[in-house]
Symmetry: C2
Subunit: 151 residues, 2 copies
């Protein structure tokens, strides 16, 4: 059961930037952006969103929970794939509208639903006036059909 | 002058995840989340937002531009402080609704408007049932009054 609640952000900018209270600034949909990196080597793994419930559960359990905008529900990362994220540290930014999670990934050490370690597996470039993508990391850490069929 | 434009995202999920076209999924406000790390040591520096103009300018010039939600205008990072970001690499994630910029910061090597290197200078914890912040990095890279008075 979630017991942690968050106070409203202070009006005063100085309090927001230097005060001792964590007062996350959820957007009009009640969400805050979460950036997730590997606690070991710092690799950027994913960007997701949390509502107050997901953020409280993450702080209370030490296991990363998010809010799935596509499925419109609380989402314990790894609940299907086993790639659960143990949270080693949480930070917030100057205006408290973003969260940074440093995590250790269990299971296959894969965060992307495509089986890759990171969701950021493609590089953006410009080629003949067009914005193009090149796949930079194509290594799959698990077999999609097997993992998601079992869930 | 900005010449780069972005095609609409494909309906097909496979095209979005593996196709060669960069088709950023701007939200209903026309913005996309940008995560910014240091190209040298990988440190997370900031999270910001881009509209199509900022993203195109960033790709065309190699200098990071954002959209300031508070000032409601295009924002060349470092225009006041001198802490301009030279973009070394841009990546996008599986569903193309987030951007990752690896940058080299000029000026004072400070990204946060508070003078700190990173906007993520505080750690979140729980103390006696309350969500609390502790300042983890308090080193200032520039004198706020001097830098912003000159701009």
């Amino acid at each position: 059961m979630m017991t942690l609640t968050f106070a409203s952000p202070p009006q005063n900018k100085s309090d927001l930037e230097t005060g001792p209270a964590f007062t996350p600034r959820f957007d009009e949909k009640g969400l805050i952006t979460a950036v997730v990196t590997d606690a070991g080597d710092g690799a950027l793994l994913m960007v997701a969103h949390m509502n107050a419930e997901a953020l409280a559960l993450t702080l209370e359990t030490g296991v990363a929970h998010y809010y799935s905008r596509s499925r419109r529900r609380l989402w314990k990362k790894g609940e299907s794939s086993g790639n659960v994220q143990a949270v080693r540290e949480i930070r917030t930014d100057c205006d408290q509208d973003a969260i940074w999670l440093k995590v250790s990934v269990a299971g296959h050490d894969a965060t992307c639903h495509t089986g890759r370690r990171s969701c950021f597996y493609r590089t953006v470039g410009v080629d003949e006036g067009q914005a193009k993508l090149v796949i930079t990391d194509d290594e799959r850490h698990f077999d999609l059909k097997q993992v998601y069929a079992e869930s």
